[in-house]
């Protein structure tokens, strides 16, 4: 079992910030206890009961929980074992990533009706820039209420919406709009909270510093030593002191947030620029053959995501980190795009074969970048059929000799693309583990690696990013 699994999708450069940020109207839509709410939607007998979604194994963590469970102090990212102690009578379910992703797509479809400027952050959160929609659709606050009722009516799910002139303020506002759970029980939230231009600081300054993005326990401890407890205190700290305390870039960023400044634009349709998958192993590995199988497994997963994004990649990158934390990356760029696991694996393995693993491999990763729309079959580099031209191999089956170049049959690339498409359709109907490379066949079936497979298992990434933010859309 890998000690940690992570996935990344790098996205394209940001569009330039809008010149006049004061006029922006940003919405942050955040689903209320999303995974738990979906479970209740699909099984209404769970309604009103404490419900915990997450890793149910010994080392699992809570991905989401109903407000009824929060009353007992359960919260996300908490070890499931602890949640069981706090709330032994809760219902514990393992979570169904595919179902959440499906509903997430429906939610995005609703949001898209109000503005094309929708930036999904995770399955259950999105930013909208409705600055330009106000004239056509109505004031931002009205849009917020319309979104809430549309999602409630069409999908029977609740959300909270924050409205503000900047992204981080909108997120804080949606937090303030949420239902609350305390010893006294569940209190309904306000649903929509609006921070109007000019009200930013009044809203922001009473908050504790931990509510700001980028203030974790370490930063908070340093700031407390300066006597900084609230965002208001932070705004009063001179820039140079702040930069000296938490570092230059971070300090400048925090200083701006404390003054309500956040120019980051809403980035719709972030284009996937690279896809990668890596794993850290609990023990350093030296088993070449096993690691080569791992490469195939990761290549298969990466290829699936590349295809789901409707792209092909030209650069395959191998990442190897050794026990002493030295890290090598090796990459190779193909003239033609690839999007099937075998092709990506064979490149990754070729790169891997040139690396000495006797030091012990701590982490292995496969990535694909230089993503592009697949040449609409419109630009496929033909290759010389060197295999046919190779000297006959003992026991080889390539006895045929045709015309030079061999262009009569569909090209190998076209045949591989067709096979990958078939794999995708089979997996869509019968599940990810229904079909996979024979090399990955073990006693327990096919060990495919797939987004959303028990992402809250041992040492998995925090629930907020479970399964990769863009994987479902």
């Amino acid at each position: 079992m890998p000690a940690a699994v992570s996935e990344t999708e790098r996205v394209g450069p940001r569009p330039p910030a809008r010149p006049d940020r004061r006029l922006r109207r940003i919405l942050h839509v955040d689903m209320d206890a999303f995974f738990a709410a979906v479970e209740i939607l699909d099984d209404p007998t769970l309604a009103g009961r404490p419900l915990v979604v997450g890793g149910t194994g010994r080392r699992g963590v809570v991905a989401s929980c109903s407000y009824e469970a929060r009353v007992f102090g359960v919260h996300s990212a908490m070890p499931t074992a602890q949640a069981r102690r706090l709330c032994p009578h809760a219902v514990f379910v393992p979570g169904r990533h595919d179902r959440y992703a499906e509903l997430s797509r429906s939610i995005h479809a609703v949001l898209q009706r109000f503005t094309p400027l929708v930036e999904g952050i995770s399955l259950d959160e999105a930013f909208l820039d409705v600055t330009g929609s106000e004239r056509a659709v109505g004031p931002a606050e009205e849009i917020a209420w319309s979104i809430r009722s549309a999602i409630a009516q069409e999908l029977r799910l609740d959300c909270s919406v924050g409205v503000a002139p900047a992204k981080f303020l909108a997120k804080l506002a949606s937090e303030a709009a949420k239902p609350t759970a305390g010893p006294a029980g569940v209190q309904p939230g306000r649903g929509v909270v609006v921070i109007r231009p000019g009200e930013e600081l009044a809203f922001l300054h009473p908050l504790t510093i931990e509510t700001l993005w980028g203030v974790g326990p370490a930063t908070a401890a340093r700031l407390r030593r300066l006597g900084v407890h609230t965002v208001g205190d932070l705004a009063a700290v001179p820039c140079d002191v702040l930069e000296a305390t938490v570092g230059r870039a971070h300090g400048r960023h925090l200083g701006q947030l404390a003054r309500g400044v956040d120019d980051r634009p809403v980035e719709p349709e972030r284009e996937t620029k690279s896809v990668s998958q890596e794993e850290t192993y609990p023990l350093d590995r030296r088993d070449r053959d096993g690691l080569r199988d791992e490469l195939l497994r990761m290549a298969d997963a990466v290829a699936t995501r590349v295809r789901r994004a409707g792209r092909v990649g030209r650069t395959v990158t191998l990442k190897v980190r050794f026990g002493d934390f030295t890290t090598l990356t090796r990459s190779r760029t193909e003239p033609a795009g690839v999007a099937d696991g075998q092709a990506i694996a064979s490149i990754a393995r070729a790169l891997f074969d040139a690396i000495d693993v006797t030091r012990g491999v701590r982490l292995l990763g496969v990535g694909v970048s230089s993503l592009a729309a697949p040449g609409p079959a419109s630009a496929e580099q033909m290759t010389l059929d060197l295999d046919r031209a190779a000297p006959p191999r003992p026991g080889g089956v390539r006895g045929d000799t045709g015309a030079p170049g061999g262009a009569e049959r569909p090209s190998p690339a076209a045949r591989r693309a067709a096979a990958s498409g078939a794999v995708d359709s089979v997996r869509e109907r019968f599940g990810a583990a229904s079909l996979g490379p024979a090399a990955l066949l073990g006693p327990g079936g096919i060990r495919v690696k797939r987004t959303g497979d028990a992402p809250w298992g041992p040492g998995a990434e925090p629930p907020g990013g479970a399964g990769g933010p863009r994987s479902g859309s």
Binding site: G337, A350, L351, S378, A379, A407
Partner: protein, 364 residues
């Protein structure tokens, strides 16, 4: 070790030897060093990455014989930076001192025993005309693969052919075949597969009249004047490239080399990524070159040409096409095609010592 020499003489030796010094991170530290060995008044500077080794001999004014392995890049930077004139080098224990005018440097050296022992091929010496060989290599190495994943394709096949020497390289998208008639250095049927990287380095060395080749079982050495380059040979069987070359073509285009090259370079501006092809529409009176990139726009240019055959459009990777046309040293070139998907051939209109086979790009 102690010697004195002209800065420029030493710098030239360091630069040439430095071309073989391992640049890749993760290599043995000692491979980032240049080995300096003094014997009498002869200095030998050697760099290696274990695949390619370059040794340069330079005449210096020797003081005390000895060996030192100094960080190649640092030493080269120092020698390049000091004032022109005499440089004095003195190695002692684990240091190398460099003095020139008022400048004094001391650099830490690698233990000279760590420097790998280098193979010295013992085969017979064969002599090749340097200028002709270098030109031929420049034409062919461009078609070799730079991807280590198919080691065979990173090599240039040097084979005996009809009493002469034939050079062949392919990366599976194109294939270059160059004949050096009359250069009968290999025995009939003999062939070796030499890494194209080593041959590219060879062509960058200062030209000399002749190149002396020594073939060993696993290595080959090329000696050009004061420089010798040793490379391991690639093991394995080169693809049977002869089967890939069509025996005849129904369509023949004859076009001026410079006008074609200029036109392809211009329309290539619109090829915004490496996979965008240039389409060549061939008509009896000339050709139209077109590059279309959906999000950027279109470039077209027509070029006068003579064409015999069925009117058709064939598309190529513009970089591969340019590589092929550049390799041909004649005013006019011949482009033979079968159809839009089969291998096309570029060759000089006069002479048949070079053939550049190019696979098209399939376009819708």
């Amino acid at each position: 070790m102690k010697f004195r020499c002209e800065r420029d003489v030493f710098l030239e030796a360091l630069s040439a030897a430095g071309r073989a010094v391992a640049s890749r991170s993760g290599a043995l530290p000692v491979l980032g060093g240049v080995r300096l060995a003094l014997s009498g008044d002869t200095l030998k500077a050697t760099g290696t990455d274990l695949d390619v080794t370059i040794t340069v001999e330079a005449a210096v004014s020797g003081g005390a014989d000895g060996v030192s392995v100094a960080p190649a890049r640092l030493l080269t930077d120092i020698v390049r930076a000091v004032e022109p004139g005499a440089v004095v080098l003195e190695a002692e224990a684990d240091e190398l001192r460099i003095a020139s005018g008022r400048s004094h440097f001391t650099v830490r050296t690698h233990p000279s025993g760590d420097f790998p022992r280098l193979p010295v091929p013992s085969g017979d010496t064969l002599s090749l005309p340097a200028a002709e060989l270098f030109e031929a290599l420049r034409q062919v190495t461009r078609a070799a693969s730079s991807e280590d994943s198919r080691p065979i394709l990173t090599g240039v096949l040097m084979a005996a052919e009809a009493g002469g020497l034939r050079l062949v390289a392919t990366d599976s998208y194109r294939l270059a075949v160059r004949d050096l008639p009359g250069v009968g250095v290999l025995a009939a049927g003999q062939s070796v597969l030499v890494p194209s990287r080593a041959l590219s380095e060879l062509t960058r060395l200062p030209a000399s009249a002749d190149v002396v080749l020594r073939l060993g079982a696993h290595d080959a050495t090329f000696e050009a004047g004061p420089v010798s380059l040793t490379t391991r040979l690639i093991e394995g069987e080169f693809p049977n490239y002869r089967q890939l070359i069509p025996s005849g073509y129904p369509n023949r285009l004859i076009v001026g080399r410079e006008p074609l090259l200029d036109a392809v370079r211009r329309v290539k501006l619109l090829a915004r990524d490496a996979t965008t092809p240039v389409r060549i529409a061939m008509r009896p009176t000339g050709i139209d070159l077109t590059v279309v990139t959906t999000d950027w726009g279109t470039a077209t240019e027509d070029v006068d040409a003579k064409y015999e055959g069925a009117e058709m459009t064939v598309a190529f990777n513009p970089a591969y096409l340019i590589d092929g046309v550049e390799a041909i040293a004649s005013d006019e070139i011949t482009l033979d095609t079968l159809d839009a998907l089969k291998p096309a051939t570029l060759r000089p209109t006069e002479g048949d010592d070079l053939l550049y086979l190019l696979m098209p790009v399939r376009v819708s």
